[in-house]
Symmetry: C2
Subunit: 282 residues, 2 copies
């Protein structure tokens, strides 16, 4: 387990970084916070989630564990500009939703005395900012560790420890290729659908005619437009394929409707129902 004497620094106290700080604080750790927004730092201090903090990157000096909750390419730039503050032997981790590009770019620039272990907590929300920070959601959420052949056992273990301290429900390991492939499907494709559904109709009365289905399928259409174009572009190859796969599936079902092929529709529905049962009630 991570020693409570460790210096833990979180860079970027938004929704996820703030939730991490809160989770570490609740588990009895001291956290240093770095954020460009002084109001965010003040909020985190007032809540006692961080013991020290500010916008100065030198606050990361002497840290044993540094976790970035910045947007992917902002994180890469932060390393380029500020990694001289990081202690040799320290572990650097992240929360970004795409991995191949982040890992490649970081491994290209990172001082080899510092080890980066990529992590993806599947606990994003359709809101942004520290005011929405909530570490209780982690107890229902998956945590994916994305090691490469460059990673030591110690760094991978630290990633497990982070997930355990924050009480994630389930911890898995995937390769960077597997991660970006699966996330293109279970997360990014779903966001493409939700955005597209909301952009089809500008009927302002729609809210009076909807059931839960439409509300469920569009919850994540409330999306952070500063983050997601970057996530989509960094995973372009997978995401384009996923959109094409879904379009093919939908067109196939459409054809069964046109042909009034009830048997094949039933087969598709029975298969969908059986597979969905594994995911639990919601």
């Amino acid at each position: 387990m991570i020693s409570r004497a460790s210096k833990i620094t979180i860079i970027g106290l938004g929704l996820l970084g703030g939730s991490y700080a809160k989770g570490f604080f609740n588990a009895g750790y001291k956290v240093t916070g770095i954020d460009i927004n002084p109001d965010t730092i003040e909020y985190a201090k007032r809540m006692h989630w961080i013991t020290e903090g500010g916008s100065d990157p030198s606050l990361a000096e002497g840290s044993d564990i540094v976790i970035s909750a910045l947007y992917p390419m902002t994180f890469v730039n932060w390393i380029k500009e500020n990694q001289h503050y990081l202690k040799p032997g320290s572990i650097l981790s992240d929360v970004t939703g795409i991995k191949r590009k982040v890992i490649d770019e970081i491994n290209e620039v990172l001082n080899p005395e510092i080890e980066f272990i990529a992590c993806h907590p599947m606990a994003g929300r359709e809101y942004k900012g520290i005011a929405y920070a909530d570490c209780n959601q982690f107890e229902q959420a998956n945590f994916i560790i994305v090691p490469t052949e460059k990673n030591s056992e110690r760094a991978i273990q630290t990633a497990y420890d982070i997930a355990k301290v924050l009480k994630f429900r389930n911890i898995s390991e995937l390769t960077p290729d597997q991660h970006d492939n699966i996330i293109g499907f279970v997360s990014q494709l779903c966001h493409v659908i939700a955005i597209s559904l909301m952009n089809i109709s500008d009927n302002p009365k729609l809210v009076d005619y909807t059931g839960d289905s439409f509300r469920d399928l569009t919850r994540i259409a409330n999306i952070n437009e500063d983050l997601w174009p970057e996530l989509f572009i960094c995973n372009k190859d997978n995401l384009v394929k996923e959109v094409d796969d879904l379009v093919n599936q939908m067109n196939y079902l459409k054809q069964q409707i046109i042909d009034e092929n009830v048997d094949e529709m039933k087969r598709l529905m029975v298969q969908a129902t059986a597979r969905r049962k594994k995911f639990g009630k919601r």
Copy 2:
């Protein structure tokens, strides 16, 4: 308001019919239940949601209000075979999710001394059967009345009264064309998406890598395969157009991702976010 001395009969005590019976019982009404399954009748009696019931259609005799919660074409067949039990001057209503075909077929066969007023409570669930009956959900749900030029004020008022007794959140009126068009979008298209998403991948480990997005978008993939092919086929023209519209929207967004057109992606996301806000938190 509906008099508590009225005889109210509900045909088909599944998820929705059972919830209706429970709702009327809670509001102090006496309900007669008709269902082909004796276990369902016994359950409804044991819960006191119905005062009398059985499988015999003659139980509907003397009813002031008859509400069918049968599948659309089963309902039409029920009328053909059993409408001689219905009292002249009585009101007949339904809960089916498609309207043009149901209204057309019923108006073709129904004794003109009985008046049919079409209703669509937007309160389906991804489960079936009376054991899932729950009238509390109506307080969050929309209720759509679908009158035609044949309907009297008295019948339309009875539909409003049903919705009010059952405590629906919001009551609207739509024409049959408007109804099927909007429902093709907000309900049926969402079900096509959920089914298609679940049928893309048979990876049994997916559950360990998902966040809430995928769970939200596939909740309704747990679908009643006996009901939905009929709903899809009865609204084929609208649904095919909705699938095509969504495919076009998704392909447009895909092209912006391929072109790395961040500005246009942001515009689409900002528009989606603004529209989604009207639908509230969930």
